[in-house]
Amino acid sequence: MINETPYSISVAELKELGKDNIPGEFVPSCHLIYSSPATLSYNSPGAIGFGVKRAALVIPESVMLLVAPACCGRNSTILSSEEGYADRMFYLEMDETDLVTGRHLNMIPQAINEILEVADPRPEVVTVCTTCVDALLATDLESICMDAEEKCGVRVVPSYMYALTREGRKPPMTVIRQTIYSLLEKQDRMPDRVNIMGFFSALDPENEFFALLRKAGIKEIYEAGAMDKFSDYQKISSANFNIVLDKESNFAAEDLKNRIDMPYIELARLYDPEKIHKQYQLFAKAIGVVFDDSAYYEEALKRVEEFKNKYEGCTVAIGDMCNANSFELAGFFAKCGLVPKVLFSNVTVEDFPYINRLADLAGDARVYAGISPSMVHYRDPEKVDIAIGKDACIYCDAGINVDWFSEKQPFGFKGLIDLIDEIERGNA
């Protein structure tokens, strides 16, 4: 008997099961994975936004040499042109003989020399990226890069696009974050400098966090994603500490702590204004400064009140492909009196504090596992008024659609207000 019902579970049921019993439908290694147009970026993070290849290019004045079977570089063909980094990607394609002999590895220095001949401007760094094949061949890419660096007279950094390790201890998007900061060398730390890490692209420069930091005496705020020059990038290690905005960067932050004694503090991207305010206060206390965020907080509360009055009772769908944690965002909407109806999201252990809170506010909301094989049958079961997230907008395209997936990263009260503004624009 064929079951054509896409798998889903209520938030309340998820809370009941708990973080140690996440249903197999949300665990990619448990089943075949469906790549709906909405979940394309799960299977291939580079399909939209940042995957390993583009992420490595966050290092300013770097280029990438992808050493892999042709299929691994295929999406770069289109994306690199659309997103403006085609001139920074080079390819050394493997064939079957290379699998057996490993001779492709011997060609890396020559390939790098050819890159240095044509790349304009000459890069400061060449990132060599290998893929699943070299993972299985246990290629020692670090040694190969050290050898190439010596022969070619340019910094050569290894990076790994090993989709096979996605649910491992160090998945590819975690490791690439470490790679991005791997060239930083220890130097004296300056008390009036901080580094922000977490997203591959820069924060919205107008968000209040920068203003609050400056008022607290921070003169330099570094973000690798906002830098053009390698010499600027090198200043990052003069930061007093790191501010980590995405858990996937924790490993990189820990590495910097161990390697160059740079401590870090974690913050979360939140949309509930009370929680944003509380987080700022805790952060300020932790670093021994005062954050007077009252003006921003009051403005945010005012906008939220207007938003509530207008949209109370509206149904909402939220996806994974948005600049938010879908469960946290759903919790905020529920608090505003909207009705989270549907979430399209993977579920991980880290989501459970938000899931538990959401269960108390909107326990009936259904969570669909976007990667489940059953999603081949998904049809929008009922219209929702507002869809947030690129994937949710594909699944539920009838109402107000807000992708909320820009490269300019929202954060704090400004991020919240901008989201409200986007919903209003979608409603206009």
Binding site: I2, S29, S44, A70, L137
Partner: protein, 361 residues
């Protein structure tokens, strides 16, 4: 240096070609990978992904699956899909990971058939060959599927018999997604015969009726061998090309200057050459391709290109006045003075230049 691309980018790989052959047939297609290959196939090499439903899945292999050769886990995972999709067959498509660990696709096929009672094809693509190699394997597997007893039990001959089969019609070979319908119309008009375009706008029952066709068209090199063998077996007539008549025009003929180089899949390129000659353009016209070239369909001056450097040298030294090719190739020819006529090839640039397609057939 062989395999090194300074300017050009990777073309569609063989797994995309194999996947394209089976896309519309209502089977369960499993790309045996960790995830990235499937994302590339669905997101970049299969334009129908966004407009037609197809049960294409990633096997979601992880490191321990590969290291320990846990084929039985993949077979188990198939169960969820089999329970969810009313499929007529399963297609297992290889990628670099199973190639490295020498996965026995025939063995996987047998295990899956035994467990689920569905016909299974296993295609040993490896992600390192280009798309037409995968299509070739896909078409071979299609014929094996046709003769599979499990398939014959499930799929009967088409209700609507057809006389003509067109092979090679995948988005990676043809000017646009409308090309299949346009060609069927032309065949009906010129020959008065009903045609099916296998793999495009095609039903699973068409596979069962393949050997009844009187004429087999081949519109890409990937289908040449299979069509030739089929015609030898059944006595059907083999035709090469797109059956373009006088009403099909090339809108860029007034831009032709000097000698001409056409870069595309060979049969489409040959078609353009024939049309140029039909319309009185007798300039030297050569066809080259980064994809398979059939010697019997080549003329003097036609070449299979093995590397980016070979391509740039050929253009620089070939004294061509005009190049008809995908715009992406021009990245490698920035310093070359030559008239460029845009002819997008999906296997090269995907959707990037789709709206520059000048051909209405």
């Amino acid at each position: 240096m062989k395999g090194f691309f300074r300017y050009l980018s990777p073309f569609s790989p063989d797994q995309s070609g194999a996947s394209a052959v089976f896309f519309e047939y209502g089977g369960i297609t499993v790309i045996v990978d960790a995830g990235g290959c499937t994302g590339n196939v669905c997101g970049f090499d299969e334009p129908r992904w966004f407009i037609k439903k197809s049960a294409v899945y990633s096997a979601g292999l992880r490191d321990m699956d590969a290291i320990l050769g846990r084929d039985e886990r993949l077979i188990e995972k198939l169960g969820d899909a089999v329970d969810t999709v009313d499929a007529n067959f399963i297609a297992l498509i290889g990628t670099p990971v199973p190639a490295v660990i020498a996965t026995d696709m025939t063995g996987l096929k047998k295990m899956a058939e035994e467990k689920y009672g569905l016909p299974v094809v296993g295609i040993s693509t490896n992600g390192m060959d280009t798309y037409e190699a995968g299509e070739k394997k896909g078409y071979k597997a299609l014929l094996e599927l046709k003769d599979d007893p499990l398939f014959k039990e499930r799929v009967k001959e088409p209700a609507d018999q057809f006389d003509v089969c067109v092979w090679g019609m995948t988005p990676l070979n043809i000017p646009s997604l409308e090309s299949a319908a346009m060609m069927r119309e032309r065949i009906e008009k010129t020959c008065g015969l009903k045609a099916v375009t296998l793999g495009m706008d095609s039903d699973i029952t068409d596979i069962a009726g393949i050997e009844n066709a009187k004429i087999h068209y081949c519109v890409s090199p990937s289908s040449y061998d299979v069509v030739k063998k089929l015609c030898e077996k059944t006595g059907a007539e083999m035709r090469i090309g797109f059956e373009n008549g006088e009403e099909c025009v090339l809108p860029f003929e007034d831009r032709i200057k000097g000698d001409v180089l056409i870069v595309h899949q060979q049969i489409l390129a040959n078609e353009i050459r024939s049309m140029l000659r039909r319309d009185g353009i007798e300039n030297r016209t050569d066809v080259v391709s980064f994809f398979e070239m059939i010697p019997e369909l080549s003329e003097d001056g036609d070449t299979y290109i093995k590397s980016e450097k070979e391509f740039t040298d050929l253009v620089k030294n070939g004294n061509y006045g005009t190049i008809i090719c995908d715009p992406l190739y021009m990245r490698a020819l920035k310093d070359t003075e030559i008239e460029h006529i845009s002819l997008p090839h999906f296997a090269v640039s995907g959707e990037m230049y789709a709206d520059e397609n000048p051909l209405e057939w």
